[in-house]
Amino acid sequence: MTVVEQTGAPKTTSPGRARRRPSPLGSKWTPYLFLAPAALFILVFQAVPLLQEVYLSFTRTRLLNPTRSEWVGLDNYNRIFGDPEFHRTLLITIVYVITCVVVAIGAGLVVALLLNKKFRGRGVARALVTVPWAAPGIAVALIATWMLNAQYGIVNRFLDAVGLGVPGGAILDSPRYALPAVLATTIWQLFPFTSVVLLSALQSVPQDLNEAATVDGAGRWATFRAVTWQVIKPTVGLLALLMTIWSLRRFELIWLMTKGGPVGATETLVIDLYSQAFDSKELGSAAAIGMVGVVISLIVIIGSRLVARAVEKGDVR
């Protein structure tokens, strides 16, 4: 004790501690004291509501009378899986997610390789490229909608000028072009993240190996596959997982641009569940749709862990 007082530090050197001297690590309850408030928050606002949703998915519950719910077992699941519209929703979700993953990572990699070489102004370029990722989703949906405006949107004016204009110009009202437009907007917002992450992975590519491969006469592509790709592979895997999960749960951007329309052309699982809950006012089937999304995410997460483990063991190359 005296030592502490001489070194003059903690004000907490108080009579309280003199009474009951704690063990150096505190008691076995110490970690729980640190985590209890946060855990309570997560329990109340995430765990309990999720369990309620699981329960709701087995009931028939109306939004307007939510306290009266009737247990219907698997009815909601049977109904949605028998509904061709839900099949389309699943298909659109899969197309949306896979496109986001592949294009966002592909574009991110190209940009990362571009920005990895030294040139003047590289710092500024790296900063500017992150702008889309930093922009709020709401603002992105707003400016995208304005740029795609049928009459005055800059995109239509440009497409018309180069002779590729969509008839009538209403891209977001066209069952054919709405999904590509929403995808382009999503990927515009995602590629900065993938490229910045890949850029930091590229820092650990040993330059001498690259040079050695080049000296040995390996072409650019061969060098990339043999050296760079081997180093960034785990990062690409991680990004694929993140992009999948984020895209499965993405809501505002799609909702604000198209509300899932026209005629369901951009309706992903999350959009479908939201309109079931708030337009059709069927909380039970909304919850069931949500559970399908949660289960898909879980399968992806567990699957990716298994693949990662197999790669570590060297079973898969």
Partner: protein, 276 residues
């Protein structure tokens, strides 16, 4: 030699194209805000901002409800930042420095929450909020936003604390400091950059949040800017210049702050996802 030069030129062009794609939409937001009506609806739109129209930003704040919206957003964001970082520091510390019963489960739960869509949780949370009279209250939004951003904040801070040598704490403990004191005096100052990064993440998570705000707030005076701006989409009454001016004022702080801390944000987010 010539081939080399060609490569350099192609690279410069490619970089410029990428930067153009990245920045153009926000530039266009700015240009649209600063366009006169005649420019906006002309056959040939003006491609540069008309700085003579700068008053639109002042008008947007002075006339409409935009100032109130941005103030509500600010309150929600600051509250979320304080609560989630305040709870995330001790949680990250517990995860990093202690082994305890339930740690593995807690870690899995934290990762699991990353995949839950807000749109799924909004129905049960609505019921919860009604029971506790948190509807139509900014406090309610602070609580729910904090809960949703807390896992990523805690995982990032756990990673940061993992990086501090244990010896520093052990020395403090040997001098008799309690765990809480060790945390606040030793760890917190050392992880200050990560705390700043998580503060930015939490702040803008709440600043950008839409689903809960649009569902739980009915009183227009309590609307945050995300809801106000979203309501502009598809609405015809407000001049597009005002709409874009408000959206630009809403976007600018998010972009500026993210650029400041992006290094920590990116490494934190990937570390949180990899290591758990």
């Amino acid at each position: 030699m010539r081939r080399f030069r060609f490569g350099v030129t192609a690279r410069i062009v490619a970089v410029l194209v990428v930067l153009g794609v990245a920045v153009f939409p926000l530039y266009w937001m700015f240009v649209t805000a600063l366009s006169s009506n005649s420019d906006l609806f002309a056959d040939q739109p003006r491609l540069t901002p008309d700085l003579g129209q700068f008053g639109v930003f002042v008008d947007a704040l002075a006339e409409g409800k935009a100032a109130g919206w941005l103030l509500n957003s600010l309150i929600i964001a600051v509250g979320t930042m304080v609560v989630s970082v305040g709870l995330g520091i001790p949680l990250g510390y517990a995860l990093s420095r202690f082994s305890f019963w339930g740690k593995a489960v807690l870690t899995v739960v934290l990762l699991f929450t990353q995949m839950l869509p807000e749109a799924l949780m909004v129905v049960p949370l609505f019921a919860l909020f009604r029971r506790f009279e948190l509807l139509d209250s900014l406090t309610g939004l602070v609580l729910v936003n904090s809960a949703f951003v807390l896992p990523i904040v805690a995982l990032i801070l756990k990673g940061a604390i993992d990086g501090i040598p244990k010896e520093l704490e052990e020395a403090a403990r040997a001098d008799g400091a309690r765990p809480f004191t060790t945390l606040t005096r030793i760890n917190v100052p050392l992880i200050a950059p990560s705390i700043a990064a998580t503060a930015v993440i939490a702040f803008f998570h709440a600043w950008n949040e839409y689903v809960f705000a649009v569902t739980f707030i009915f009183n227009p005076d309590l609307q945050p800017a995300s809801v106000g701006i979203a309501n502009f989409i598809g609405e015809l009454g407000t001049p597009i210049q005002t709409v874009m001016a408000v959206a630009f004022l809403f976007t600018l702080p998010a972009v500026a702050f993210y650029l400041l801390v992006q290094k920590y944000v990116v490494s934190g987010m990937t570390a949180g996802a990899v290591k758990g």
